[in-house]
Amino acid sequence: MPIEVNGKSYETDEEGYLANLNDWNPDLATAMAAADGTTLDENHWEVINFLREYYEEYQIAPAVRVLTKAIGKKLGPDKGNSKYLYELFPYGPAKQACKYAGLPKPTGCV
């Protein structure tokens, strides 16, 4: 089921994760979030941007403690925890935020 943004069609998997990482652009993230009824604010973008940077370096989404530590540094220590991340991404930071960032869904016992 491809996703349409700005007149262009992008291939996704069964759950709406982008098939090709290089297809990603910020408008796609906004459109995916809108489809879930979410409006992305600057805090969402901090997470999304960090996920993309980390993925570029390590070819995997960051582990939850790596992510909370990085977000704590950027947004303040009171936000460096998974509770805050779940407030931003109620379906789970690993899965929902990865989707908006254009990363593949983490697999395994998670």
């Binding site: 069964e14 759950e15 370096e57 390590y58 070819q59 995997i60 960051p62 582990a63 939850v64 403690r65 790596v66 530590k69 998974s82 509770k83 779940y86 379906y91 690993a94 899965k95 983490p106 697999t107 395994g108 016992c109 998670v110």
Partner: protein, 496 residues
């Protein structure tokens, strides 16, 4: 979120009124060529799939004598019917273990018994049609291979073996499950279920060292690929990645540190899980298990210890020697392999750990026995050690421990609802409904004893509970790792 109703938790677990076919729509995403090929399976449904399936069933009957007995010996006594969490949670009579098994048994009768060949209608034999294949795919992915029903079967029919055989047949004809098969491919390619490459693993572990140093002031190490370490720790990759798993990993490191045991993780065998078990594929199980042998030899370790992972412990305890042995290069004074709970329990028995129970005084704790640990393995050298040891550890590290009802723990434990390769978002309705019996038992100790934490020693159970607890009015962080409580109670000093 999928559209379904969370079952109501009543005062007692009720046997539901039957609703035929109510879960027939439930099926996980079908695998694709890119996930099938690395496992040696056809990429899509083969043209002559019926013949291939029937031949594969014949082959399995020859090579797995247990399966032949399980096909022949059911007398339809009904003892299993109300024992399955998926039946109790969904009301679908096809989820009575006997009815689910009969989807394979009917086909077996048609092609492999004389009465079934001559008078199929009289003996419940059925042709293998596309409709039957679809039913297989749906309902054999509504069994978590937990084997609770087998405990109550007077003939000892191992239902999990029937599910595994059917999944193996489906893979042979090219109708595999995406979730399990994609994950197995990642183990072959990268070394773990997550696809966590060595540099990311190293970065993650360094972060944990900093975190523990900040919390305790002690330099606890989380070493990777260190040759000459005494212990190779093989743990589920969820322990690196997710909560509450990671707090368990932190706890293992603290135990090794305080005991002065040198240990290492391996980037080659950075996964304890072995999903080859779930899909009933001995070849894939062996390939996954061999990575542990290779890592142990390469690193020159003396012992292999498994972290908190339920089915991994079944594979390790029951099959590791057959799959990847002999392990004659390890120290014969220790069991091969050992469970992290056995290590911690032995240290506590010997007085080698200083524990401050009051560190866990804010916790009122109960323990969820994971199915593969409970019904397919053991710990220690006593019968039932797999039930005794985790509880004895918990009682040594916290002051408030309460068991759930006896018919929901020990060898009668209820599955978390996400085991056996079903821990995937495309089966969320099944997972929520299948958690009902466990949630019912939990609610009881919450009301009776003020329990606020559910402890588990399985990565699947932990992920499943953090997802389904909120559906039942609990908080997602009420599920914790056993070694998190151990780590919190351990009095750390910088032994030099």
């Amino acid at each position: 979120m999928a559209d379904f109703k969370t079952p109501e938790v009543k005062e007692y677990l009720e046997i539901p009124a039957l609703e035929a076919g109510v879960m027939s729509h439930s099926a996980p995403f079908v695998s694709k060529e890119q996930f099938q090929a690395p496992l040696g399976f056809p990429g899509e449904l083969v043209d002559n799939w019926q013949q291939v399936a029937i031949d594969k069933l014949g082959e399995l009957l020859e090579t797995n004598r247990g399966l032949q007995v399980f096909m022949d010996s059911c007398v339809k006594c009904g003892a299993c019917t109300d024992k399955c969490h998926y039946f109790l949670g969904t009301s679908d009579p096809r989820n009575m273990p006997v009815a689910r098994q009969d989807l394979l048994r009917g086909v077996y009768r048609r092609y492999y018994t004389l009465p079934g060949k001559l008078f199929p209608k009289l003996v419940g034999a059925m042709d293998l049609t596309e409709e039957v294949l679809d039913q297989w795919y749906s309902y054999f992915h509504q069994c978590s291979e937990c084997r609770r029903c087998s405990v109550f079967c007077p003939y000892g029919i191992d239902t999990a073996e029937v599910t595994m055989a059917t999944r193996e047949i489906m893979n042979a004809v090219g109708k595999g499950q995406k979730y399990s098969n994609e994950i197995i491919g990642k183990v072959f390619k990268i070394g773990n279920n997550l696809g966590l490459p060595e540099p990311a693993l190293r970065d993650t572990l360094e972060g944990l060292e900093e975190e523990v140093k900040m919390d305790t002031g002690v330099d606890v190490r989380y070493p990777l690929d260190e040759k000459g370490a005494e212990v190779l720790l093989v743990t589920p990759s969820a322990d690196f990645f997710a909560e509450p798993h990671v707090d368990g990993l932190i706890g293992y490191g603290k135990v090794f540190h305080q005991a002065g045991i040198s240990w290492t993780l391996s980037s080659h065998a950075s996964e304890a899980a072995n999903f080859g078990l779930f899909i009933g594929s001995p070849e894939n199980m062996k390939r996954i298990a061999m990575r542990i042998r290779e890592a142990a030899l390469d690193l020159g370790v003396k012992r292999i210890v498994f972290g908190e992972c339920g089915h991994a412990w079944r594979v390790a305890y029951s099959f590791l020697n057959t799959l990847a042995g002999p392990f004659d290069f390890l120290d014969p004074r220790y069991p091969v392999p050992q469970h992290i709970c056995e290590v911690t329990y032995d240290l506590i028995q010997r007085g080698a750990l200083t524990l401050d129970k009051s560190a866990n005084d804010h916790r009122r704790v109960t323990f969820h026995d994971s199915c593969n640990v409970a019904r397919a393995s053991r710990m220690g050298d006593m019968p039932g050690g797999q039930f005794v040891i985790p509880r004895e550890i918990l009682k040594a590290v916290c002051n408030h421990y309460y068991d759930m009802a006896p018919d929901t723990i020990g060898e009668s434990t209820f599955c978390c609802g996400g085991g056996g390769g079903l821990l995937t978002d495309d089966l969320m309705e099944l997972r929520v409904k299948g958690a009902l019996p466990r949630m019912q038992a939990l609610k009881h100790v919450v009301e009776e004893h003020g329990v606020n934490q559910l402890v588990a020693i399985c990565a699947i159970c932990k992920s499943q509970f953090s997802k389904v607890l909120p559906y039942y009015g609990f908080e997602m962080d009420q599920i914790v790792s056993l070694h998190q409580l151990v780590g919190d109670a351990l009095v750390m000093d910088s032994k030099q």
